[in-house]
């Protein structure tokens, strides 16, 4: 089986089978990490360009490591010192990279749909590393991989996604992927941070965190996005933290073996206390490890699509 599109733009465009293929492929790449030599020659001679218009530590490093472990050559474009600062358009930047025979362009952009614009205009594989508040497909995939690894299956699990759903591309990719694999999702946050008609995607909406946590198998805690917070979406960080901040008390409502995910970077003490993020239920560091395996799987599988 192969992926159908040359690009990975979002989980809403993938079938259940395609998602499973990526997750299964990542298992063997993860096994590689236990060896002393973590590199395979699969993508030798291929060029991977990382084009990040937004800040990132883990996604960028994770993609770079994934490419390098597949023996591809990687190029990092620092947008703040590039021609973008001279007013070059996204399409022109993309075409320049295409002319240099970049096989993959991994793009992060603050605007929803930017990877689509790029993918439409160039023949290189385009991977969405997060676009605006639209999708972050590899984060969705690594969350699913982590959940599946810990729980054995995704079907039938009760998964609570807590926090700023409105501004979260991670939440959207999680919703697309997890519902396709049969999970039961509850999204929870203040009404001002719940997107319009999100329940049409098949999720439940609740405002009280206690309702969302009840009997949860998985809790995915989203970061409060201060950078998108100009519009007075809630009165204060203090009030937010009191209502939604994940602590020892609240977590008791969930199942005993609940696992806690967070896409990072964390605001410790705001949406999550350190005692939770560093607890035995937390799989936050494993998410990071799995992210590399998932991105290797994505690069490997897309390379097979022409």
């Amino acid at each position: 089986m192969k992926l159908k599109s040359k690009d990975l733009l979002g989980l809403q465009y993938l079938t259940k089978e395609e998602i499973q293929l990526i997750l299964d492929t990542a298992i063997s790449f993860k096994e590689l990490f236990t060896r002393s030599i973590k590199k395979v020659p699969t993508l030798r001679g291929k060029t991977v360009v990382l084009l990040f218009y937004e800040n990132s530590t883990r996604t960028r490093t994770s993609f770079e490591l994934a490419a390098k472990r597949l023996s591809a050559d990687t190029v990092n474009i620092n947008v703040s010192t590039s021609s973008v600062q001279k007013g070059e358009s996204l399409i022109d930047t993309g075409k320049t990279l295409e002319a240099m025979k970049a096989d993959f362009i991994i793009i992060r952009h603050s605007m929803s749909g930017a990877p689509h614009v790029l993918a439409r205009n160039i023949s290189s594989h385009v991977i969405n590393a997060g676009d605006g508040v639209h999708e972050h497909p590899t984060q969705g995939l690594l969350d699913m991989f982590t959940i599946r690894e810990k729980k054995g299956t995704i079907k039938g699990l009760k998964i609570a996604i807590i926090g700023d759903i409105l501004h979260s591309r991670v939440a959207r990719s999680n919703i697309w992927g997890l519902t396709k694999l049969g999970a039961e999702i509850v999204v929870c946050g203040p009404p001002t941070l719940i997107p319009y008609e999100i329940e049409k995607t098949g999720v439940k909406v609740c405002y009280k965190v206690e309702d969302a946590l009840k009997d949860a198998d998985v809790i995915n805690i989203l970061r409060v996005q201060f950078e998108r917070q100009q519009e007075n979406m809630f009165p204060s960080v203090r009030e937010y933290s009191l209502l939604y901040g994940m602590d020892k008390e609240k977590i008791k409502l969930a199942k005993k073996d609940v696992i806690i995910l967070h896409p990072g970077p964390m605001n410790r003490g705001i949406e999550i206390t350190s005692e939770i993020s560093d607890s035995v239920n937390s799989v936050i560091n494993e998410q990071v490890t799995n992210g590399v395996a998932i991105r290797m799987a994505v690069l490997y599988l897309l390379a097979g699509v022409h």
């Binding site: 809403q12 399409i91 952009h109 929803s112 749909g113 930017a114 605006g132 319009y196 008609e197």
Partner: protein, 423 residues
């Protein structure tokens, strides 16, 4: 020079004509409309058998971009696009650079129109200086210079006090205030209709309420001031309902919508095609149906194009960065015929009134909008069965969401002041 249009099916809503007539034109005037006119010498004859003959189309909402954005459109190119679309008169909005908020600017447009235009141009003046919504422009001077109406289209007047004064003051010149209804606080940073699709795409939504709140406010102010209010590009079900009720109440209010609001929905945005980015945004199926019903029952008086040209460079980028607007001069007529007449939603006589007699009446265009003897010979001859795929445009810009669509009902002759252009 005499021109005779023979054997055409004449539709003239103003004079309630809907049958075969011949029309005789001398120079720039209609001199006879009669069952059979037989003149053979010294005359140009158009055989309009199988075609419909209607008063020249009046498009009350266009952006010709001159002065300021000649890379998008000019008076030269825009009037040629209008001609190609069967449109004989266009109102051009004031949001040029500089803004049409003074006599000199109006004179510039009229001079350019005279020298380079091929259809009639009626400039719309600004309501406030620089369209900033702060101080009234010299509305009396604008009227004297020749504006047909006033509007801050594109920059709605948020301050209700200024809006009130504009309605009151314009009254003494019998000028209609054309209002673009949008609460800018509610619509802030929005790029498409707020709804399930905007949630899926992660694009900031513009709620329908941002339009409806301002429609309500303007209706209330029109009632208070007894001013002349025309609401342009109505796009939502509730706006139609608000206007319907206001009209029933006897408030002096008229409105228009555009072909994209009775043709497309926000589903079109799904692939981030920026040619679907328009303000107000494409709404939902429910709204489309309500717009059609509003046109049918007479709540909506006119159909305008809101022709808003933008270059490929401006449009081919991230959805958030692309400017609002789609072109419409060349698709106004075929979309109206295809979507409303061919689908049996509204009679031909009724839709023709929306683009001819109604605009002429609302804006007091004398001797236009009907085929009365003595009127100016602005006439459009249409082949309603001609079917064509939309591929290219006369307009300088190509930002149309209708590219690739197969439409019916194209003009075959556009006659402006007796001058005939075969298409």
């Amino acid at each position: 020079m005499k021109l005779l249009i023979k054997n055409g099916h004449v539709i003239d809503p103003e004079n309630k004509i809907d049958s075969e007539y011949d029309i005789l034109i001398s120079d720039d005037k209609i001199i006879s409309v009669s069952k059979r006119i037989n003149i053979k010498k010294n005359i140009k004859i158009i055989d309009a058998k199988g075609f419909i003959v209607i008063p020249g189309i009046i498009d009350i909402h266009t952006h010709l971009r001159e002065p300021g954005h000649e890379e998008e459109e000019t008076i030269y190119s825009g009037t040629r696009a209008a001609l190609a679309g069967g449109i004989t008169s266009v109102f051009c909005m004031a949001n040029t650079h500089p803004v049409i908020d003074n006599q000199t600017a109006v004179e510039f447009i009229l001079l350019k129109a005279k020298n380079e235009g091929v259809v009639n141009i009626f400039p719309v003046g600004a309501v406030t200086k620089g369209q900033e919504g702060k101080e009234l422009a010299e509305i009396g001077e604008l009227k004297k210079a020749g504006v047909i109406a006033i509007s801050d289209d594109g920059n709605p007047i948020m301050n209700s006090l200024i809006a009130r004064r504009a309605f009151e003051y314009a009254k003494m010149f019998n000028l209609v205030v054309i209002s673009h209804c949008e609460d800018l606080n509610l619509s802030k940073d929005g790029v498409m209709n707020e709804g399930y699709i905007s949630t899926l795409l992660g694009l900031k939504g513009i709620p329908k309420e941002s339009e409806e709140i301002m429609v309500s406010r303007d209706i209330i102010l029109a009632k208070l001031t007894k001013g002349l209010l025309h609401i342009t590009h109505v796009s939502t079900m509730n706006s139609v309902e608000l206007i319907r009720r206001a009209k029933k109440e006897g408030i002096n209010i008229t409105c228009d919508t555009c072909p994209h609001y009775f043709t497309l929905t926000n589903e079109e945005v799904r692939n981030f095609n920026t040619n679907t980015k328009v303000n107000p945004p494409l709404r939902t199926k429910q709204d489309v149906e309500a717009i059609i019903e509003g046109l049918r029952d007479g709540t909506i008086d006119c159909i305008s194009s809101d022709h808003a040209p933008h270059t490929e460079e401006e449009k081919n980028k991230e959805y958030n960065l692309a400017p609002f607007g789609i072109i419409g001069l060349e698709t106004l007529l075929p979309l109206t015929i295809t979507q409303l007449v061919k689908k049996n939603k509204i009679s031909l006589l009724n839709v023709v009134s929306k683009i001819t007699s109604n605009p002429a009446k609302i804006f007091n265009l004398s001797k236009r909008g009907s085929l009365k003897i003595g009127n100016i010979a602005d006439i459009t001859i249409v082949d309603i069965n001609k079917t064509k795929k939309i591929t290219d445009f006369v307009s300088k810009s190509k930002n149309s969401p209708f590219i690739g669509m197969e439409l019916s009902g194209f003009p075959v002759y556009t006659i402006v002041s007796g001058k005939c252009k075969k298409l």
